[in-house]
Amino acid sequence: MAEDKIKVADLNAWFGSHQVLKDIGFSMSEKTVTAIIGPSGCGKSTLIRCFNRMHETVPQARVSGQIQLSGKDIFREDPVRLRQRVGMIFQKPNPFPTMSIFDNVVAGLRLNGVKDKSRLEAVARQCLIKAALWDEVKDKLKDSGTSLSGGQQQRLCIARALAVSPEVLLMDEPCSALDPISTARIEELIHELRPNYTIVIVTHNMQQAARVSDFTSFLYMGELIEHGETKQLFTNPREKRTEDYITGRFG
């Protein structure tokens, strides 16, 4: 196995006095897909929001412990720079409604001061192709981002995240607001992105976790119950609670 891309150790997270994550520790290799599963409210979103330090932007929220990205502690890094390296896709597609499709994709680049029109166009095209959206939008790049369907909007958000060339992509239930066909397209897309990015995906859907991921973490009440290869975890879980959850004998 290659060197760990992300390494989590003794991670605790709170909202006010409510501890949401307890002593989480595991690691992810480069260019793999890791799924995080667990019942609602167990802290999945909180966990991945620690990876790009979005958790700390919530008032009263705190973290302790360590997360290393390529061997460097992210809590010592500047969060703004970190977030360029660690992109995020949200549960509900959230394109900027006042911007065109094109402007949405290059929003991150523009923040970085890229003004060169041909460069922006090239990146937009490339990212839309990567996000499997190019063919559908290439003739209406000037239209508003919200004129697209939900599934297209989600792929637009993926293209937007890709445009700042992140190393890691965090996806928080990216398909839960989408229909089955759009879901299938996103799953395909994850397959296509895998060779180039380290992906962490939160999902409620165990079939989805089994389909798209190499590794799976099972989180329960803020604790990491089990982490392992997806195939092994789904066919032969080590923990009783994991088994109960994946067989649906749970809350």
Binding site: V80, R81, Q84, L111, N112, G113
Partner: protein, 281 residues
Amino acid sequence: MTNYGSRRFVNIFMFCASLLSVVVVLVPLFLVLFFIVSKGASSLNWSFFTELPRPVGEPGGGMGNGIVGTLSLIGLACLIGVPLGIFGGIYLSEFGKGRFALVVRFATDILNGTPSIVIGIFAYTLVVLPMGHFSALAGGVALGVLMIPTVIRTTEEMMKLVPNALREGALALGVSYSQTLIHVILKTARAGIVTGILLAVARIAGETAPLLFTALGNQFWSTSLREPIAALPLQIFTYAISPFEEWQKQAWAGALVLIGIVLLLNIGCRFAINNRNMKRR
């Protein structure tokens, strides 16, 4: 990225700029409060509250008639503004649907945005012209109309905050709608509605423009509704633009009293609202 430094700089710069705008705007607040307290306190004594204004040249005297006048005008205004406002608010939250409710809301907003001096002309035409002279009644009408929008809006908001479960609970028990309204909804919303009324009072207590040609002002004690009546803000105005130093001093003292009333009402309401919100959470 190469320009990250400049982005951070812009970020810090904008933070400072926004903080600065807060500070700059608070400067006049503190200046106003500071001058009123420092200038007003020296002329403020017991007789200010009990005595009539003295003629020019005689030091001392007070604005007792203005304070009483303002209180009477507020009372009169409440007689008009409170029932209209509360029932209007009840209409909007409980019965109002469709186009007419939109019209009522729109009218409330327009009324809220109408300059108070225009409402003064309205009261002048409606009351002063038929009566043939200025009167406390006319001032009360003007201030009453000014209260309406605030009272309507808070009443509506407060009634809407009452959980639907409470209504349905009462209705399910076979209690009639009006009884539910009176005993459940209004009772729950009461504190909020009272707060709204007090805020409206705080607002009209300092209103001057519509009183200029309705209540007019009065140098003497008068409690008759048909006569012109003194009012604290009117007296502050008259004395402030007068060329006599004693009178100007009185104006500062009056301002101190007025701002005391207005700020107490406001701060009190603010705390009442915050407390309630805390409890609800």
